[in-house]
C-alpha cells in the first residue's frame, strides 16, 4: 500500500497532542501493534516539542511541517521547522544533554527517537531550521515477510 499525508501546524504546545494523534491515526491503516503505535506517537511528540522549544523558543506563530508516507509497510516521517537550527548535532544527540537545563528538560528526546525508529537523519543549519527524516518498518509488513 502507498499513501501519504502532509500536515502543517502552528508552533504551539497544544499541537503536540494533535500531531501525535493525527500521525497515529494515519499509520493505523497498516494495523501496527500497540507498541509500534505508541512508539511513533512518542517520536512525533518528541520532535514537535523540540521544534517548539528549541527551534522556535516557544514563539507561537511559526510553522512546523509533518510529512508522512507509507510504502509497503515502511513508514517514512519527515518533520521540519524553520527555526534557529542545531549548532552541534552530535552533542544534541547525546543522552542527558540539553541546551535548556533551566526548563527542566531531561535531554532524552533524541535517545527516545533513535530507540523507537529504525533510522534517523538530522539536517540542520543555524538560522535556517531543522529537518528530521525518520523511517520505521511496521510489523504488518514484517509478518508478511515471514510468511513469504
Amino acid at each position: 500500500m502507498r499513501n501519504r499525508m502532509y500536515l502543517e501546524i502552528a508552533s504551539i504546545s497544544e499541537n503536540e497532542s494533535f500531531a501525535r494523534v493525527a500521525v497515529g491515526a494515519f499509520i493505523s491503516q497498516l494495523n501496527p501493534t500497540m507498541d509500534e503505535l505508541m512508539e511513533v506517537k512518542t517520536v512525533v511528540s518528541e520532535v514537535v516539542t523540540n521544534s517548539i522549544i528549541h527551534g522556535y523558543n516557544e514563539e507561537p506563530n511559526h510553522t512546523i511541517e509533518i510529512s508522512c508516507q507509507l510504502y509497503d509497510g515502511e513508514f517514512d516521517l519527515i518533520i521540519t521547522d524553520y527555526g534557529k537550527g542545531i549548532e552541534d548535532i552530535e552533542m544534541a544527540r547525546e543522552p542527558m544533554y540539553t541546551s535548556k537545563p533551566e526548563l527542566e528538560r531531561s535531554g532524552m528526546g533524541f535517545t527516545i527517537i533513535e530507540n523507537f525508529m529504525d533510522s534517523v537523519e538530522i539536517e540542520s543549519s543555524v538560522g535556517k531550521g531543522t529537518s528530521i527524516h525518520m523511517t520505521k518498518m511496521l510489523s504488518s509488513k514484517k509478518t508478511k515477510v515471514v510468511h513469504e
Binding site: 497532542s17 506517537k41 512518542t42 516539542t49 527542566e104 531531561s106 535531554g107 527516545i112
Partner: protein
C-alpha cells in the same frame, strides 16, 4: 485528552496520581502544582502512581527528574508505582530506574515507605 492529577498526603508521603497524557504542554502546570504541594506541607517522601497515564514523553521525564532532585534535598525517597510496559521502556532507556525505586502498586509502595494501611 490532557492530563489530570490528584495529590494526597499519607503521613509524611505525598502521593501523586496522574491520569492521561503527560507531555510538554501539560508539564508546566503539573510542575507548578507539584512544587506547591511539596513545599507547603511536611513531606519527606514522594510516591508517584502512574497507573492511569496513557502517554508520556521526555518532557514527563524532565518533570519527574526535577521532583526527584527536590525529594533528595528533603532527605526522602522517590518511589514510582504501577508503570505500564511502554512507559517502563522509556524509564529504562533513560536510566531512571537506576535512581528511582519501582513498586508494583500503591499499597506495596506505601508499606515500603513505612505508611500503615
Amino acid at each position: 485528552m490532557g492530563l489530570s492529577y490528584s495529590f494526597t498526603v499519607k503521613e509524611n508521603v505525598l502521593v501523586v496520581r496522574l491520569a492521561g497524557e503527560l507531555d510538554h504542554h501539560e508539564a508546566e502546570n503539573l510542575r507548578e502544582t507539584w512544587k506547591e504541594k511539596l513545599y507547603t506541607q511536611p513531606i519527606k517522601h514522594v510516591l508517584l502512581n502512574m497507573e492511569a497515564v496513557t502517554f508520556m514523553d521526555s518532557s514527563g521525564l524532565g518533570v519527574i527528574l526535577g521532583r526527584y532532585k527536590e525529594v533528595l534535598q528533603l532527605g526522602g525517597e522517590f518511589v514510582v508505582c504501577s508503570v505500564s510496559p511502554m512507559i517502563g521502556k522509556i524509564f529504562e532507556m533513560s536510566g531512571l530506574f537506576k535512581i528511582i525505586r519501582q513498586e508494583e502498586n500503591e499499597l506495596k509502595a506505601l508499606m515500603t515507605l513505612g505508611v500503615a494501611s
